[in-house]
C-alpha cells in the first residue's frame, strides 16, 4: 500500500508546520494548488507525534535494520490506533514557540526512521547565519516568507529523490529484503 502510492507523483504528502493560522492556511493552499496532499499542524511537537516519533517507537525503530528510509513508519505500525501516514516532505516555520523549526529539523535528522525525509525551513527573517546553520544541519531549502508558488514548485526535485530509491524496491519485489539494503545504499550514494 505504501509502496504503490509513492510512485504516484501527484500524491506526495507534505507535512506543514507553522504556529500561525494564517501562514498555515497559506502554505496549505499553495501546496494543494500544486497537487500535493497536505497535513498542517501548529507545532513541532504535533509534527513529531504525527510522524509517529515517540520514545517507544523510536526504540523499536532503532533495533530494526533501515530498510525503507523514505517510508518513515507506515505499514509496520498499522496496528496502532492512529494511522501514521507516510510523509514525503516536511516544511516548517523556523520561529515557533517551544520547539523551533530548527529543533524539529534536528530531531528528524537524528531519527533513524525519519532522517531521509527532506525538510524545508521557512522564515520571515533573512538571517544568513540562521539560513546556513539550517542548510548545514540537513535542511534541503530555506524559503523566505511569504512563501510563493514559485518556491513550492522547487519542492518537486526534493520529493523525486525519495521516489527513485522506491522504484528499485518495487522492481526487486521478490528478493525485497535482500536486495533493498544494497539498492537503497546505491541510490543514496548517487544522490
Amino acid at each position: 500500500m505504501g509502496l504503490a502510492t509513492n510512485l504516484e507523483l501527484d500524491h506526495f504528502h507534505v507535512l506543514a508546520v507553522d504556529d500561525s493560522i494564517i501562514d498555515r492556511k497559506l502554505i496549505e493552499t499553495l501546496l494543494k494548488t500544486s497537487s500535493y496532499q497536505v497535513t498542517a499542524v501548529d507545532s513541532g511537537t504535533k509534527a513529531l507525534e504525527f510522524l509517529g516519533l515517540n520514545t517507544i517507537q523510536e526504540e523499536e525503530e532503532n533495533e530494526e535494520v533501515t530498510n525503507f528510509p523514505s517510508f518513515s513508519s507506515t505499514t509496520d505500525h498499522d496496528d496502532h490506533d492512529h494511522d501514521i501516514m507516510e510523509v514525503n516532505l516536511i516544511i516548517t516555520d523556523y520561529f515557533m514557540p517551544g520547539m523551533t523549526g530548527y529543533d524539529l529539523l534536528k530531531k528528524v535528522k537524528e531519527s533513524k526512521s525519519l532522517r531521509d525525509i527532506p525538510v524545508v525551513i521557512m522564515s520571515s527573517e533573512n538571517e544568513p547565519s540562521r539560513i546556513n546553520r539550517c542548510l548545514e544541519d540537513g535542511a534541503e531549502e530555506f524559503f523566505l516568507k511569504p512563501v510563493q508558488l514559485s518556491d513550492v514548485k522547487k519542492l518537486r526535485s526534493h520529493l523525486v529523490k525519495g521516489i527513485r530509491s522506491d522504484h528499485h524496491i518495487i522492481e526487486n519485489q521478490p528478493n525485497i529484503m535482500e536486495k533493498t539494503q544494497s539498492a537503497v545504499e546505491l541510490e543514496f550514494q548517487s544522490l
Binding site: 500561525s20 493560522i21 494564517i22 501562514d23 492556511k25 497559506l26 493552499t29 499553495l30 494543494k32 494548488t33 520561529f95 514557540p97 520571515s124 516568507k145 511569504p146 510563493q148 508558488l149
Partner: protein, 152 residues
C-alpha cells in the same frame, strides 16, 4: 457601460488606490491568484482569519502594558506574529508599523510601544474597512452574474 462593467471598473480603481496608498502590496495579488474553483473564497477566508488573529494579538499586547512589569519579550513575540501575518496577506502599511513597534520593544520603551500599539490598532481598523468595501464590491459583481477581474 452596464452595471457590471461599472462595478468592475470601480473594483480595479479601488485596488489600484489601495496599492498606491500602500495598504496592500504584491502579496495580496499573489493571494488572489491562488483563489480558484477549488478555493473560491480563499482570500476572504484568509483575511477573516487574519483579523480574528490580529484582534487576539492586539488584546494580548494591550494586557501586557496593563501589568506592573511589562513583558517586552512577550509583546515582541506578538508583534513578530502580527508582522508575519501582515506580510502574508500583503498588508504593507501594517507590516511597517510592526517593524517600528519591534524597535521600541527592543529598546524597552513603554511610551514608544504604546504609541505603536495605538497606530497598529488604527491601521488594522482602517484596513479592515477598506477590505470590507473591496469584498462588498466583489459580492455585487458576482451577484449580478459578473466576474471579478483578474489582476496581473
Amino acid at each position: 457601460m452596464d452595471a457590471i462593467s461599472q462595478w468592475q471598473k470601480q473594483w480595479f480603481d479601488y485596488i489600484h488606490y489601495l496599492r498606491q496608498e500602500g495598504f496592500l502590496d504584491d502579496q495580496f495579488v499573489q493571494l488572489k491568484k491562488l483563489q480558484d474553483e477549488n478555493s473560491p473564497d480563499f482570500v476572504v477566508e484568509v483575511v477573516s482569519l487574519f483579523f480574528e488573529d490580529s484582534q487576539k494579538l492586539l488584546t494580548n499586547m494591550a494586557n501586557a502594558f496593563e501589568q506592573k512589569v511589562v513583558d517586552f519579550k512577550q509583546v515582541d513575540a506578538n508583534v513578530h506574529q502580527l508582522k508575519g501575518s501582515s506580510a502574508s496577506i500583503g498588508a504593507m502599511r501594517l507590516k511597517n508599523v510592526c517593524v517600528n513597534f519591534r524597535n521600541y520593544c527592543e529598546a524597552q520603551n513603554v511610551e514608544g510601544c504604546l504609541r505603536c500599539l495605538q497606530h497598529v490598532q488604527q491601521e488594522c481598523s482602517v484596513l479592515k474597512s477598506k477590505l470590507e468595501k473591496l469584498f462588498m464590491l466583489e459580492q455585487q459583481i458576482v451577484a449580478a452574474g459578473g466576474k471579478i477581474p483578474v489582476l496581473e
